[in-house]
């Protein structure tokens, strides 16, 4: 996984609450066997008509937002299905950070496994970015845990383990395998019971 330290970008405003993962990536695109190539299907049903033509009016497709790396959203983003394809699509589209008020648990966890930083800020701050800062550069410093817009600096909370895994781009599994002795010891004492 590519390490994440700092990013500077203007945001793409997705001004909708309770966005579910069925919208982020509809089911017809869950049949692929890889982790890449999902970006073009991101928010498919909101971006394309019934014949598969891009409607060009969804926020992701407006030329002024092209190439921006921060997705700005609101409350309760990523609810519903655990499909990690939702995160693969967001990542493949080019986003590095999702900034919002709150996120669903499984989606939140899936983001960090793929090097996407998720930042939760208070409602008034997100509101302010939506209403005043859409075309401002946002500087996100993971080490210092700050979101800086011009002279305004907001700090954010993040679990230290998630933070260091992102900063160093570490693969979770290789970390866990270092705990082999603990796992073995547990397995000796504990019987998970399977009988036929």
């Amino acid at each position: 996984m590519e390490p994440f330290k700092f990013i500077k970008s203007k945001p793409v405003p997705l001004d909708i609450v309770n966005v579910d993962t069925d919208q982020i990536i509809p089911k017809q695109f869950l049949k692929l066997l890889g982790k890449t190539g999902y970006g073009r299907y991101l928010f498919y049903n909101w971006r394309y008509d019934e014949y598969g033509n891009n409607k060009s009016d969804f926020v992701l497709d407006l030329p002024k937002f092209n190439g921006r790396k921060i997705l700005l959203t609101r409350e309760n983003f990523g609810i519903g299905s655990s499909r990690e394809h939702a995160v693969w699509a967001i990542k493949d589209f080019g986003f590095k950070v999702i900034l919002g008020i709150s996120f669903a648990d499984i989606f939140y966890s899936n983001c960090f496994k793929n090097g996407i930083l998720v930042i939760e800020l208070d409602k008034d701050k997100i509101e302010k970015i939506f209403s005043e800062k859409i075309d401002e550069d946002i500087e996100i410093d993971l080490l210092g845990q700050t979101v800086k817009i011009n002279t305004e600096i907001y700090s954010f909370d993040i679990d230290l383990t998630l933070k260091s895994s992102l900063l160093e781009g570490i693969d979770d599994i290789s970390t866990t395998l270092k705990y082999e002795n603990f796992i073995k010891e547990y397995e000796i004492k504990h019987d998970p019971l399977v009988f036929k």
Binding site: P26, N76, S82, R83, I106, D172, P192
Partner: protein, 470 residues
């Protein structure tokens, strides 16, 4: 003084957290299916890793398989490749697979319990958010993403932070006959606490109503915990749990089973256990529920009308916009009685409501009646075992005589990954768990209801208050 969740958590600590960080937790059961596993196996191969405990890993195909004649080749080549990939992965890594033609094939959350693979006090994961279903047995069961699937395959563990304890107390007078479905109860809960009400929590359902329920009904309630934002929901195990599990195919047997019951009894939440959050509902007050919008909290009583966005949003501007958007998508107008809404399709199925009791209850409603001429209706049993039991009871005949299609088991039109989908604009009374935009087919409109409500709607062609029929 501990809750069931606390006790399971403590029993599975491989490496406890330092301070606020995550702990390493052992996983007793890993269920996998064709859609969220291929990338995980690729990851293993890429890094030359093995599956640590193939004997704790069980696979089936459910999400994208057809529910029509299984002896025919698959029309959808992409789905077919995904299925073949799972077959190859299970063979290569030594994992038990209940394949398309297997007598034990079915929706992963239906077969785990019915085979006795789901046991009290265990930790259970699957790359599917409705893994919360298994919590009905007093297990800690939750959905994970594909990266975590790979992690569990390789290590049989997961890093997790302990969630909050959230009790939902469900009491009723137990005097009158229960005409309210477990589905109505969980929809009422979600209507009240919202789709993020359970975020960061494990919900424990308690109270005399829960104790009085069968395992299948407890599963319906735990299944939709995720729709309230909770990764897991559970019920303390009791005699109903133990009786259900006795003599299941993979359950521990005889004296061992009886001995285990003593351990499992200890899992009950202590009387003075502390909860971080609490919510109570009197089940006597609940009437049949129908969703009107595009998330499961957008629910009203069948006796009610389509709400006004202002009334729904209670001053929250964003929720109001969301309600307006939902009404436009659903093509509904505020003030219209729920019982005036005509439907085109009925789907009785899914990991929420496709177990034998669901099918029995729906069959009682349709017996001797006919599906409305404007409605296309189907029953998709949750597993081959459910299908077989239902056929032994003659339920297939009741449904077919009434005009329902009787299908093979799978997820089917709950998420429409196979050919069972709604056409744009079609309106469906569905016993599934999600009414998101396009969930059952692009442009399709989903109303979530209980099996008996779906059955009655199929006959009338509109929503009806099924209490009038019971």
């Amino acid at each position: 003084m501990l809750t069931t969740y606390d006790k399971i958590w403590n029993n599975h600590l491989v490496y406890p957290s330092d301070n606020e960080g995550p702990s390493l937790i052992y996983i007793d059961r890993h269920f996998i299916h064709e859609v969220t596993s291929p990338q995980a196996f690729d990851g293993l191969r890429l890094n030359n890793r093995k599956v640590r405990k193939p004997n704790l890993t069980f696979a089936t195909v459910d999400h994208n398989i057809p529910t029509t004649n299984r002896s025919l080749p698959l029309v959808d080549e992409v789905s077919s490749l995904q299925i073949k990939t799972l077959q190859k992965n299970c063979q290569g890594f030594g994992i038990t697979l209940f394949d398309m033609s297997d007598q034990y094939q079915g929706i992963v959350h239906v077969i785990g319990p019915e085979l006795g693979l789901t046991l009290p006090g265990s930790t259970i994961v699957c790359g599917d958010s409705h893994t919360s279903t298994h919590g009905a047995f007093g297990a800690l069961a939750f959905g994970i993403g594909t990266s975590e699937v790979e992690h569990v395959l390789a290590t049989q563990c997961l890093w997790m932070k302990k969630a909050k304890n959230f009790e939902i107390i469900l009491n009723n007078s137990l005097k009158k006959d229960l005409v309210i479905s477990a589905k109505d109860v969980i929809l009422s809960i979600i209507k009240n606490i919202g789709t993020s009400g359970g975020s960061g929590s494990v919900i424990e359902y308690r109270g005399n109503y829960i104790s009085s329920l069968s395992m299948e009904k407890r599963m319906t309630i735990c299944n939709m915990s995720i729709e309230a934002g909770a990764r897991a929901g559970l019920v303390s195990p009791d005699d109903v749990t133990f009786d259900y599990l006795r003599n299941k195919t993979f359950s521990p047997k005889n004296e061992l089973f009886e001995r285990l019951i003593d351990d499992w009894k200890y899992l009950k939440s202590d009387a003075s256990a502390k909860y971080d959050k609490s919510f109570s509902l009197n089940v006597d007050d609940i009437v049949p529920q129908v969703t009107w919008g595009t998330n499961p909290s957008m629910t009203v009583d069948v006796t009610s009308t389509i709400p006004d966005p202002d009334e729904y949003a209670k001053g929250n501007e964003e929720e109001k916009k969301s309600a307006i958007r939902a009404l436009a998508y659903m093509n509904l107008t505020p003030g219209v009685p729920i019982t005036d809404i005509s439907i085109d399709r009925v789907f009785i199925g899914s990991c929420t409501n496709a177990r034998l009791e669901d099918l029995i209850e729906a069959s009682i409603i349709v017996k001797g009646k006919k599906v409305s001429s404007n409605v296309q209706a189907m029953v998709v049993p949750g597993s081959q075992q459910v299908k077989l039991s239902a056929e032994r009871m003659g339920l297939d005949k009741i449904f077919i005589d009434a005009g329902f299609e009787w299908r093979e088991s799978g997820c089917s039109m709950c998420l429409g990954m196979n050919p069972d989908i709604l056409l744009p604009g079609e309106r469906c009374a569905s016993t599934s768990n999600r009414n998101f935009e396009g969930r059952q087919g692009t442009g399709g409109r989903t109303h979530l209801v209980s099996p008996v409500m779906a059955a009655a709607a199929a006959v009338v062609g509109k929503f009806v208050d099924v209490r009038e029929w019971i």
